[in-house]
């Protein structure tokens, strides 16, 4: 899976290179790619704008990513969520687990505000 990353100040923004899904069949791929980009303690914004489908394995991967970041000093915030993915988050009540922002800029700014 192709991911792109960009540092904005102290925040790492990770986005998907192309439109697609995050599901059981490619979730291990996603996890490996993400881990390659991260340093421990990173503050990360995950841009989900290009993810148009997500199943619970995909959600699980995002939760696991958040957990592994917060084990250090880091944190995961989400941005740019499509309607479908938001519904999936709400079905599992996981919207209560993450800070979700409408745009990447807002998410980056929120780290600065802390």
């Amino acid at each position: 899976m192709k991911l792109t990353s960009e540092r904005k100040g102290s925040v790492l923004v990770i986005s998907f290179a192309e439109e697609g899904s995050l599901e059981a069949s490619n979730v291990m791929d996603f996890r490996e790619s993400v881990m390659g980009l991260l340093k421990e303690g990173d503050k990360v914004v995950l841009d989900l704008g290009k993810v148009n489908f997500m199943d619970s394995s995909g959600l699980g991967a995002i939760v696991a990513l958040g957990r592994s970041l917060s084990r250090g000093e880091g944190e995961l915030r989400l941005a740019n969520i499509t309607l479908h993915v938001r519904t999936v988050f709400e079905l599992t009540r996981l919207h209560r687990a993450f800070e979700i922002y409408d745009t990447v800029e807002e998410a980056v700014a929120s780290f600065a505000a802390d």
């Binding site: 059981a24 069949s25 979730v27 291990m28 199943d55 619970s56 394995s57 959600l59 699980g60 939760v63 696991a64 958040g66 957990r67 917060s70 084990r71 944190e75 995961l76 915030r77 079905l91 599992t92 009540r93 996981l94 209560r96 687990a97 993450f98 800070e99």
Partner: protein
């Protein structure tokens, strides 16, 4: 009520209602068969002659067992009769028969009888409707992972299971999940040609093992097999079809054991459970996952794990923060008591910082901030707790150093310094002890908080020792469906000695009680009324020990003291109790027709000390550990494990002998009472005999392979 002219006498009720029941049963049987026969004749276009009608009675016993509809109807008649006579007996017991002179004896017995009656009602409810299913054809192109969980089972056992798993016909991938991290098992996986998955620790035992494997595999469906459970090649073909219904989360199949000797001395096969009971639960969508021989839908597991992630996490955070707050307060109180002895200024500052950090996290949790925020705030409290602990440790070291100095002065014997030093030493000792306690308390709190912050998402619920039951409750609460497919599709090894059997039963009991008592599964939202009732029935069974103890003690107490628990062993008593017990027995015999259920009932009563231990351990809240049930034979005689049962046996024999002696020598005239209780004493001895026999039972050496072939031949599918 005798003054009403038309009110029937108890003997009239007993005989009349019994006769009526049998008439109704006969009518039900004939009408059901008549319906079948006429449909068949209609299909064949046959006009029946007089002698054709004998077909009504042909193969009747077999039809009663195997014609499901007929079987259930007759069972319902017997069940209703049992409940009618039970209610008739109990109303009389409550209104007329209590022996007020011996309340300590008569009240517990009455409660036990009430408990049994409610239990009988729940049993009738459980079996009222049963499902016999035929699976739809399996979907094409489904992806399936087969998980073989193992820990310390002999490598040969694991190899046989892995080899059989590879041979399952439906396309799949096989993995051995080795929590023992053994080189021998890794080699077996390589040789057999299946995957091998391990993890760094063994957290949450079997459930954790499966969770870990879920993360590194991606099949839509997962077949879970214990290390010794040898699957049939068609296990997936027979179960995957049910998943065509998108709401089905898991399909459970029975557990059978191929090393069980004739008579099944340890009731390993539990045919009453893996049969009528699970079929009954299945009819109400309340069958549960039993840990092995089941296929699960990954999506359901993961979604459940995620759904409960927030709930579990919030609860765990709340608990950790509350505990940490209490710990800090307690540590502060301990330190403040040493105010005059120790310099507290610096410690106080640390206390304030730790308190502030915890307070902040608690407020965030209370105000409904997102979980990630609360987690990070909670995480921030950890360094504060650590530095508090460090500064408390420094105080402690100072105190110890001071104590050493004072000791030197005291021992020097130079007055007046020495006696002053002794006085201060006495002051110092409790302060040091309190300080040590404070260090410990703060350290434990810091560890709990750290652990909580690191909780993982766990698809397989890890709250209790029987991860399977907890998982079922959670899936049902989220509206998923379950299926029990009543066909043996995998066979394994049962424990072969009483010690291991008792350990296993204890773990099941503890796990069940834990799910209900700690999780409050019965009162939470999401379950249907029928599901609640089915789960309640399972829980209810584990409280049987209370009735069992009373039933076991009652005959010897009566025989030795002649204090009757009922007012009199009169004709009235017998006319009410005999039909009740007879129909109860008949109902069980009917259900057990063709399947050996007797052993299960013996164990249910005979293992009362195990149920008591389970309840005590769960209520006391001590941490329970998961013991893997040994699947290899542990030689020995286990009479030491059943001391309470042996004591009751001795007491009962003593009572029976004494009763007979009294009657024979004419020392007592309570013929009816003594004979009744001799009968009950003998019945109890029969009940307990299974456990005693199991304790001294020794297996014969036999080749396992041979046993498996034999088991397959004996029960063709």
């Amino acid at each position: 009520m005798g003054h009403l002219a038309f009110w029937p006498q108890s003997w009239q009720v007993a005989l009349g209602a019994s006769a009526l029941t049998f008439l109704v049963i006969a009518a039900v049987v004939l009408l059901t068969r008549l319906g079948r026969l006429r449909r068949r004749w209609a299909l064949e276009g046959k006009r029946p002659r007089l002698r054709d009608w004998t077909a009504l009675f042909e193969g009747l016993p077999r039809a009663l067992r195997e014609d499901h509809e007929l079987h259930m109807r007759v069972f319902r008649c017997l069940g209703l009769a049992t409940l009618f006579f039970g209610a008739y007996y109990l109303t009389w017991r409550y209104s007329r028969s209590i022996n007020w002179d011996a309340l300590w004896f008569s009240i517990p017995l009455l409660l036990a009888e009430t408990y049994s009656f409610v239990g009988a009602a729940l049993f009738v409810f459980t079996l009222w409707r049963q499902s016999w299913r035929e699976p739809p054809p399996p979907p094409e192109n489904a992806t399936v992972d087969v998980f073989i969980t193992c820990y310390n089972e002999p490598p040969e056992v694991v190899r046989r299971t892995a080899e059989a798993a590879i041979k399952i016909r439906y396309p799949h991938k096989t993995y051995i999940l080795d929590d023992g991290r053994r080189e021998a098992i890794r080699r077996i996986a390589e040789e057999v040609g299946c995957g091998y998955i391990t993890r760094v620790d063994n957290r949450h035992a079997k459930a954790g093992n499966i969770n870990n494997a879920l993360e590194v595999t991606n099949g839509e469906f997962i077949l879970v097999l214990d290390a010794d459970m040898i699957p049939e090649p068609d296990i997936l073909d027979r179960t995957l079809g049910y998943f065509r219904d998108e709401k089905v989360a898991f399909v459970q199949t029975p557990q059978r054991f191929y090393n069980v000797p004739p008579g099944d001395p340890f009731d390993a096969n539990a045919p009453l459970f893996y049969g009528p009971i699970l079929r009954g639960k299945d009819a109400w969508n309340a069958a549960f996952f039993c840990g092995t021989n089941a296929v699960l839908r990954r999506e359901a597991l993961i979604r459940m794990g995620l759904f409960y992630y927030v709930e579990d996490m919030e609860r765990a955070l709340k608990k950790a923060l509350t505990d940490a707050w209490a710990a800090v307060e307690r540590a502060r109180w301990l330190m403040e008591r040493s105010r005059g002895v120790v310099e507290l200024a610096r410690v106080r500052e640390r206390f304030e910082r730790a308190r502030a950090a915890i307070r902040k996290a608690r407020r965030a949790l209370k105000e409904g901030e997102t979980l990630s925020k609360v987690i990070s705030l909670t995480g921030e409290a950890v360094p504060h707790l650590d530095s508090l602990r460090q500064s408390l440790q420094r105080v402690r070291e100072d105190l110890l150093a001071m104590a050493a100095d004072l000791k030197a002065v005291a021992q020097s014997g130079e007055e007046p310094g020495a006696s002053e030093a002794r006085r201060r030493l006495e002051e110092l000792a409790p302060a040091t002890e309190r300080c040590e306690q404070a260090v410990r308390v703060v350290q434990e709190a810091a560890e709990e908080v750290r652990r909580t912050v690191n909780i993982e998402v766990t698809p397989m619920a890890t709250i209790s020792l029987t991860e399977d039951l907890a998982t079922s409750v959670r899936l049902h609460r989220l509206g998923w469906k379950s299926v029990y497919h009543d066909q043996v599709l995998a066979r394994g090894l049962a424990p072969e000695d009483l010690g291991s059997t008792l350990k296993q039963r204890l773990r099941w009991a503890q796990g069940t009680l834990q799910v209900f008592l700690r999780e409050r599964a019965l009162i939470k939202r999401g379950l249907t009324l029928a599901q609640r009732l089915h789960y309640f029935t399972t829980l209810y069974g584990y409280f049987y020990f209370f009735a069992a103890v009373i039933y076991f003690l009652w005959p010897p107490i009566y025989l030795l003291t002649e204090i009757p628990p009922v007012r009199a062993y009169s004709a009235e008593f017998f006319w009410r109790i005999v039909p009740y017990l007879a129909f109860n027995q008949l109902m069980f015999e009917f259900i057990g027709w063709g399947i050996p259920t007797w052993r299960g009932r013996q164990y249910f009563q005979g293992l009362f000390p195990v149920w008591i231990r389970a309840l005590v351990s769960v209520l006391s809240g001590r941490k329970l550990t998961f013991h893997v049930t040994p699947k290899t034979r542990q030689e020995g005689i286990y009479l030491g494990l059943i001391r309470p049962q042996l004591a009751i046996c001795c007491l009962t024999v003593l009572g029976i002998l004494w009763g007979i002696v009294k009657l024979a020598l004419g020392w007592s005239r309570e013929f009816a009472g003594i004979l009744t209780n001799v009968f009950w004493g003998l019945y109890n001895l029969l009940m307990l005999s299974a456990v005693v026999r199991a304790a001294v039972w020794r297996p014969k050496e036999r080749k396992v392979q041979f046993e498996l072939e034999e088991a397959r031949a004996a029960h063709p599918r």
